[in-house]
C-alpha cells in the first residue's frame, strides 16, 4: 500500500502502526532517487510528496522553511524572485537515475546530502540545514535545530539526518539557510591539460586568495560527450574555474587568474549556467549505455592518482571527470563487471582515504555490491547503534544503506 499523508500527525500514525506491527516502510519524496542505494523491498510505501509548501521565507533573514515534500524547483523559483539561492547548489540526479528532471523534493535533497560544484566554497546540504521536524521509527515526532544559523542548543540531529537516505526518520519539514545569488558569474576555461597538470592548476587556484566557486576538469573522453558546444568542440580536455560575485570583483579575479596561468577563454553567465549544471547533474553520463556510475569523494590532491589506479585495474575504458578541484570524481565503468568495479574503485582509495558510492547500477548489482563505502568495524557498530536510537525496529528504508539495517 502507498500511504500519502498530508500532515505530520498522519505520518506519526502510519509509522506508529508500522513500528507496532514490525512492518517496513519505503520512505520516498518524489522518488527521483529511488534507484540510488541498495534495493529496498517493502510492501508499503510512505510517500511524503503530499507534504508541500513553503511555510516561511524571510529573505532579509536568509532563511526558508518548507514541508519536506516541496519540489526544489518551486523553492528555487521563490528564491529567484528575491535574487537568492540554495548556495549548496543541489544537483538533480533524476535523469541520471532514469527519472524525470525537476521532480525532486527538498526533503530528498537533504536526505541525500547533495552538493554541487559550489561545495568547495559553500558546503553541502548539511551545512545549510538549520532545522527539522521529523518522525522517527517509533512514530514519535520530534524537532531539532531551529531557524537561526548560530545554534548549539542540544545535539545537532540535523547533521546525521542529512545523508541518512531516509533510514533514521521521515522528515516532515525542514528549514534551510539561503544566500544572495551572485550578481555576476564567469567561467575561465583552459584546454588540453592532462589530468595531473590540470588538477595542479586547480589546486594552485584554490590555494590562492581568488575565491573560486567551481573547479572542474573534464578529460578529453568526457569533453566530447558534453552537450555544451564549446566544451564538445574543444577537441581535448577542458579545465574550468568558476568565479562568482559582484561584477568588479569577478573581473579583477579573472585577471589575476589569467595572469597566473596564461590566457583562458572566458565564458559568460548564460554559458556558465548550462555548463556547471551539466557538471553538477552528471549530464555526460545521463542516458549513457554504460549503466554503472560511481561517485568518489577523495582528498582533492589525490584525484588524478585515484583515477589512474582505477584505470590501471579496469583498463582504459573508464571515463571519469573531476569536480571540487579533484576532490569529487564521477566515473563510469563497463557494465560487464560482476562487482561493478567495486573492488578496483575501493582499492584505489585505501591509500588516500575517502569514499565511493555506487550511484547508478542495475538492481541486482546494487543488491550484492556495497553501494555505500563499507566502514571500519568500530564505526559500523556505532552507526548501527545510532540507527537503532532512531529506528530500533528497522522500519524505515531497511537495508537501503547497509545490509541488515
Amino acid at each position: 500500500m502507498i500511504f500519502r499523508p498530508t500532515d505530520e500527525a498522519q505520518v506519526v500514525e502510519v509509522v506508529t502502526w508500522a513500528c507496532g506491527d514490525g512492518v517496513p516502510l519505503e520512505v520516498v519524496g518524489a522518488g527521483s532517487k529511488r534507484a540510488l542505494g541498495r534495493p529496498v523491498s517493502c510492501d508499503h510505501v510512505l510517500d511524503l510528496a503530499a507534504l508541500t509548501g513553503v511555510t516561511l521565507y524571510e529573505p532579509a533573514e536568509l532563511v526558508l522553511s518548507a514541508r519536506a515534500g516541496t519540489p526544489v524547483v518551486e523553492i528555487e523559483a521563490q528564491l529567484e524572485q528575491h535574487q537568492q539561492l540554495l548556495a549548496f547548489e543541489p544537483g538533480d540526479w533524476g535523469p541520471l537515475l532514469g527519472a524525470p528532471a525537476g521532480a525532486q523534493t527538498i526533503g530528498g535533497v537533504i536526505a541525500c546530502n547533495l552538493a554541487g560544484p559550489r561545495r568547495v566554497a559553500a558546503g553541502a546540504a548539511r551545512d545549510h540545514f538549520l532545522g527539522v521536524r521529523a518522525v522517527n521509527g517509533r512514530g514519535e515526532a520530534f524537532k531539532s535545530g531551529g531557524r537561526v544559523v548560530k545554534n548549539v542548543t542540544g545535539y545537532e540531529l540535523c547533521k546525521p539526518l542529512a545523508g541518512s537516505y531516509g533510514t533514521l526518520a521521515a522528515m516532515t519539514s525542514v528549514t534551510v539557510k539561503v544566500l544572495p545569488a551572485p550578481q555576476q558569474t564567469l567561467t575561465l576555461a583552459w584546454f588540453g591539460l592532462a589530468d595531473v597538470a590540470a588538477l595542479r592548476r586547480l589546486t594552485t587556484a584554490l590555494n590562492s586568495p581568488v575565491e573560486i566557486s567551481g573547479a572542474a576538469h573534464l578529460p578529453a573522453s568526457i569533453a566530447v560527450r558534453s552537450s555544451v558546444a564549446p566544451v564538445a568542440a574543444a577537441g581535448g580536455a577542458v579545465t574550468l574555474v568558476r568565479l562568482e560575485g559582484f561584477a568588479p570583483s569577478v573581473a579583477h579575479r579573472a585577471d589575476t587568474l589569467s595572469a597566473l596561468f596564461g590566457g583562458a577563454q572566458r565564458w559568460d553567465r548564460a554559458l556558465s549556467r548550462t555548463l556547471w549544471a551539466e557538471i553538477r547533474d552528471v549530464g555526460v553520463f545521463c542516458g549513457d549505455s554504460t549503466p554503472t556510475v560511481w561517485r568518489l569523494s577523495v582528498p582533492p590532491a589525490a584525484g588524478a592518482t585515484v583515477v589512474g589506479a582505477v584505470v590501471a585495474r579496469l583498463g582504459a575504458d573508464v571515463p571519469a571527470y573531476y569536480d571540487w578541484g579533484g576532490g569529487l570524481i564521477w566515473l563510469a565503468v563497463p557494465g560487464t563487471l560482476a562487482d561493478a568495479g567495486a573492488a578496483a574503485v575501493r582499492a584505489a582509495l585505501t591509500e588516500c582515504g575517502g569514499h565511493a558510492t555506487l550511484i547508478r547500477a542495475p538492481e541486482p548489482i546494487r543488491a550484492t555490491v556495497d553501494v555505500f563505502q563499507p566502514q571500519a568495524p568500530a564505526l559500523a557498530a556505532l552507526a548501527g547503534r545510532v540507527k537503532d536510537s532512531f529506528d530500533p525496529r528497522h522500519i524505515l528504508n531497511p537495508g537501503r544503506m547497509v545490509p541488515g539495517w
Binding site: R4, E58, F142, G146, V149, G154, Y155, L168
Partner: protein, 495 residues
Amino acid sequence: MEMPKPDAAIIQRRSEIVNALAAIVPGNGVIAGSDALRVFESDGLTAYRQVPLVAVLPSTTEQVSQVLRYCHEIGAKVVPRGAGTSLSGGALPLADGVLLVLSRLNRILDVDWDNRCVVAQPGVTNLGITAAVAHRGFYYAPDPSSQIACTVGGNIAENSGGVHCLKYGLTTNNVLGIEMVLIDGSVVRLGGRHLDSEGYDLLGLMTGSEGLLGVVTEVTLRILPRPATARALLIGFSSNEAGGDCVGAIIAAGIIPGGMEMMDRLAIAAAEDFIQAGYPLDVESLLIVELDGCAAEVDHLAAMVEGIARAKGAVSVRASASEEERLRFWAGRKAAFPAVGRISPDYYCMDGTIPRGQLPYVLSRMAAMSRACGLRVANVFHAGDGNLHPLILYDANEPGALTAAEAFGADILKLCVDVGGVLTGEHGVGVEKRDLMTYQFAALDLVQQQRVKCAFDPQGLLNPGKMFPELHRCAELGQFHVRAGQIRFPDIPRF
C-alpha cells in the same frame, strides 16, 4: 544547579583509581593533590566550582583509550577538558569524576597544503592552527574571542564560532575529520581529508556534543587562503534600532560581510576605555563591518555599505586605513568581555540567538527587564547572525546578586526562544542552560537526543549533568510503548 549525586563507592576507591591512572599515564600524568587540583575546579563559568576526584593528562590516543576503558570498567564518570574556557560549565568537574585533560596532546601532526587542511591533536589552541599556516598566507577561519587559549578539541565539542563565521561558517563547517575515543576505549575515525564523511554524518553530530559522546583525540581542519585585503568600517548610530536596520539592509543588498558585529553604548565605552580602539563615544550603537576579498571587491563593497549606512541614518562612518587600524577596531570588540569585567566586579555573559529582525524588540525588552531588576546590561552581538551576548553586570559580594543575575539571564534566554530563537548560539548548554532545555524543546525532542547519547555511552559516564535537565536510563529509553487498539489511518490518503 543540582549535579548528579556523587557515587560514594567511587569516591572511596579514590587512591586505587589514582594508582591505576598513574600506571596508564606514567611520569607526572596524574594530578591528585588537592591544591594542584584546585586549578581545574571551574571553567570560564566561574560561578560553578567543584574539585575533581582526580585529573589525568594523557599524551597519546592510546593512553586516552586506556583511561576511558578503565573508567568504563569500574563505572567512573569522566569529564573531558581542553583549556577550560567554556562559558557554560561544560568542563565543570565532578566530585566523583575523572577529569580528562587534553592539553598535553598539543602537537600539529601535518600541514597538507595541497588538500588545504591541518591535522592536529585536540590540545592545540585555535590560534595555534592559524599560526602554523600563516607564513604561507593561510588561516583557520573560526575565530572565537578566546582563540589564544581555547583548544580545537574544545572548539569541536562546543561547535564554536567567532566574528567571521557569518561568511566562513562555524567549527562544524570547517572540520573535515576527527579521531575520537568512545567511553569503552574503542577508537573511531570520522571523515578525513575529503569532503562529506560517508555514512551517517557522525562528525556533524559530534561537533557541538559538549564532551558527552566521545573524546576527540585528533582533528583535521580546513584552512583557507587569507583574503587579499580586508577593511573594517566603524559605523555609529544614534539608536540600536537604526543599527539593527542597517544590518538588515546590508544583507538585503546581497552582501555577506566577513564579519558584522554590533555593540551598545555601555559595551562601546568599556571597550574604548580598555583598548583605545578609536570607537566613537557619542553613539548609541556601533557596527563593525568587515569586508574582505580582492581590492576591487573591498572597494566596491565598502562604498555600498557606506551608502547603505548613510541612508539608514549613520552618524559616523570610518574605514580602517591600515592593517594596524583594522586590527585595532577588532581588538576592542574581541576584548569586550574583559573590558566589561573592568567596569563591574562581576559579569555574567549570555549567548542566545534571535532572528535578526527581532533585534530592536529584544533590545527594548531587555532594557525594560534591566530596569525592573536593577542590573545593568552591556550588549555585544554577532549582528549578522543574530547571536546576542548580553553581559549582565553584578557584584557577587552583594547577597542575592548572583541569583538575580542568573534569573535575569534566564529571562533573556526565554525571550530569545519566544521570538523564534534559541538558548545558545555558541557557548553551549553545559550546566548553565541545562534546566532551560525544556523551554526550547518538547519532551520527545529531548528523548530522541538522549537516545542518541545512549548509542555512544549507554551508562551515561561521559560528562553527566551537562546538557540534559533529566537523565533517563538508557534501558528505560529503549522500551517500546506499542499503542494497541487504535483506529488505523481513517483519513490518510492511500493507494
